[in-house]
């Protein structure tokens, strides 16, 4: 058993650090419905952590708890070993947690470039007045942000649609733009909500490659939700399995593959 501060090196040579975020006995209810029931798990620095489960298992709700959009009735989110006080979603984002959404949540009225640039909003320190006259620091920061954004745009290979309004893009590209928007904020933890949902095999391969590259090149910790077991098993270092709001498995892909509860959930054994 690893300690929360221990680090180790994976088979493909990446270093996985200590625990950066820990969910402690999270319970979330909507009225009478229990979406998440007493779930605990942790995320380590530099790892790719997957949360899987059938529809309605509470995966997205879990992600929403992490990004501060839902406030759990019970339990605690530990961040860097300290309990995180209740905060607004934008404050969570300011701590370096970026995310994408299951049903793409891009800003449809803006161009790809503007969408990506928006991801850097927390890196901008000049005030309203400085921006109004567009001189000095405001202009400098704008250029810096643009350079960073262009790097990400190059990296995700979406240069050609830079100035296209997002509303005109096909689904797969939109997903990529959303990833770019999250990446450009240089997050310490990146939350991906079904990054490959609705994609064809080719697009899925592309996306998997991007996720691995992001983890590798930017050293980002990634927590992702995915439906597609196959992809998840190949991608992730550790997997949490949820079903009906409960955690039914947690471990390396190999552990999960052999976990009877998981197999039952996925093969549809009747709940009793």
């Amino acid at each position: 058993m690893l300690d929360s501060t221990d680090s180790y090196v994976t088979d493909d040579g990446r270093t996985i650090g200590g625990v950066v975020m820990e969910m402690k006995n999270i319970t979330l209810r909507f009225g009478g419905v229990v979406a998440i029931k007493d779930i605990s798990f942790d995320i380590r620095e530099g790892e790719i952590r997957a949360i899987i489960g059938p529809n309605g298992a509470g995966k997205s709700s879990m992600l929403n708890v992490i990004s501060g959009f839902y406030v759990p009735q019970e339990g605690q989110v530990m961040f860097h070993g300290k309990p995180r006080p209740q905060m607004k979603p934008y404050e969570v984002a300011q701590q370096g947690i970026a995310r994408t959404f299951q049903n793409i949540a891009l800003f449809e009225g803006m161009t790809v470039l503007d969408n990506v640039m928006t991801g850097r909003l927390n890196k901008m320190s000049s005030g309203l007045f400085a921006q109004a006259i567009w001189r000095g620091k405001a202009e400098q920061e704008e250029i810096e942000n643009r350079e960073k954004a262009e790097k990400i745009i190059d990296f995700l290979e979406i240069q050609h649609i830079r100035k296209t309004p997002v509303a005109r893009l096909p689904y797969g590209l939109k997903k990529r733009v959303e990833l770019a928007r999250a990446l450009v904020s240089e997050p310490s933890i990146l939350l991906l909500d079904e990054p490959m949902a609705g994609m064809n095999v080719e697009e899925k391969e592309d996306m998997s490659r991007f996720i691995l590259d992001v983890n590798d090149e930017f050293g980002a910790t990634i927590a992702l939700i995915e439906h597609d077991m196959g992809v998840v098993m190949d991608l992730s270092d550790r997997v949490v399995v949820m079903d009906y709001g409960k955690k039914i498995g947690d471990g390396t892909p190999n552990d999960i593959r052999n976990n009877q509860a998981v197999i039952d959930a996925y093969l549809g054994v009747a709940h009793d």
């Binding site: 929403n64 959009f69 959404f101 299951q102 049903n103 949540a105």
Partner: protein, 328 residues
């Protein structure tokens, strides 16, 4: 009983009566909004237009007389006949149905799927258009409207309350009639939407356009119907207000009285419109009674909005509006 309390009771009752009329106007908004997502700013002008049409038909006015006279150099004003009130009302309803059809065919069938604000703007354009047409058609004089509704203080209530409180309450007969008619109208609408085939189709459309389409409900027909019903409601409101003040431009401004009611009651709820109307009616009258004299009076216009605003801050979807669940 202390005098002020007695006065407050009188104000309260009158507020309720005023509230019923507000609710009536608000109802027209709700019907259209529920079925088609259109926030119909023209509702007030529709009230004016329908009341003008009613008077015009009753008096046998020649439509567009002024324009005709100017173009052809003629001097026609009246056909020389008069039409009984009931028949005139039926004819006016027919005009409003025709109007509903035209609105649907020439405007909103071309705007399907647009954003709400675009639809809203279109109704403001419609309001301008209708205002211009109405004046050209029936001229801009103040027209006396008399379809036989009683007016003036209700003696019975005056005497009755005088015996109890030593102060006779003032309740206008017109308000009592208006309340009864509004109640009948609302009851009728509820029965219509619950029990008739068209009514059920209307509710189906309100719930889910796509689903309603897929089970074979004609959206076009429903929308025309909803606009017609709203036109009818506008006519009733126009008659009530027009009886008191004569039919004139300011009837179109009663829409502004209905907006706070909508905020309070929710844009999609018929009971909301009624309860909201009553709350606004009573609230603004009581505020004017209690606080008005201290701040110089004439508070009703803004107080209705402020009341609705305060309310909304605590309940953003209105009184009966559907609860907003935010998801990502």
């Amino acid at each position: 009983m202390p005098e002020q309390l007695v006065f407050a009771m009188e104000v309260f009752l009158n507020g309720l009566m005023a509230g019923v009329l507000y609710a009536l106007v608000a109802l027209g908004f709700v019907l259209i909004f529920k079925a088609s997502g259109i926030f119909n700013y023209a509702q007030g002008v529709m009230a004016l237009f329908s009341a003008m049409t009613l008077v015009g038909i009753m008096k046998g006015q020649v439509p567009f007389a002024h324009v005709i006279n100017v173009i052809f150099g003629t001097d026609v004003h009246y056909f020389g006949w008069t039409v009984p009130a009931l028949l005139a009302i039926i004819l006016t309803v027919a005009v409003m149905v025709l109007f509903a059809w035209a609105v649907q065919k020439y405007i909103f069938s071309h705007l399907v799927g647009q954003e709400p604000i675009i639809l809203f703007m279109a109704t403001i354009g419609l309001a301008y258009f209708l205002e211009g047409v109405g004046d050209l058609m029936w001229n801009s004089e103040i027209k006396k409207l008399d379809v036989g509704l009683p007016q003036g203080i209700n003696e019975a209530i005056d005497n009755y309350t005088f015996n109890i409180f030593d102060y006779g309450f003032f309740i206008d007969n017109l308000d009592i009639v208006a309340t009864l008619i509004a109640a009948l109208l609302v009851g009728g609408l509820v029965i219509f939407s619950q029990y008739s085939k068209e009514g059920r189709a209307m509710r189906a459309v309100a719930d889910d356009h796509q689903a309603a389409l897929s089970v074979g409900v004609s959206l076009n027909f429903i929308w025309i119907m909803v606009w017609s019903v709203a036109g009818f409601v506008a006519l009733v409101a126009g008659i009530m207000w027009g009886t008191k003040s004569g039919v004139q431009f300011s009837l179109s401004l009663i829409a502004l009285k209905a907006l706070p009611v909508l905020m309070l009651g929710g844009f999609t709820s018929i009971p909301g419109a009624i309860v909201g109307g009553l709350i606004i009616g009573v609230g603004e009258k009581l505020f004017e009674f209690a606080i008005g004299p201290m701040v110089g009076g004439a508070t009703e216009n803004w107080f209705a909005y402020v009341l609705a605003l305060i309310f909304l801050v605590f309940r953003p979807q209105g009184l009966f509006g559907e609860k907003i669940i935010e998801r990502v």
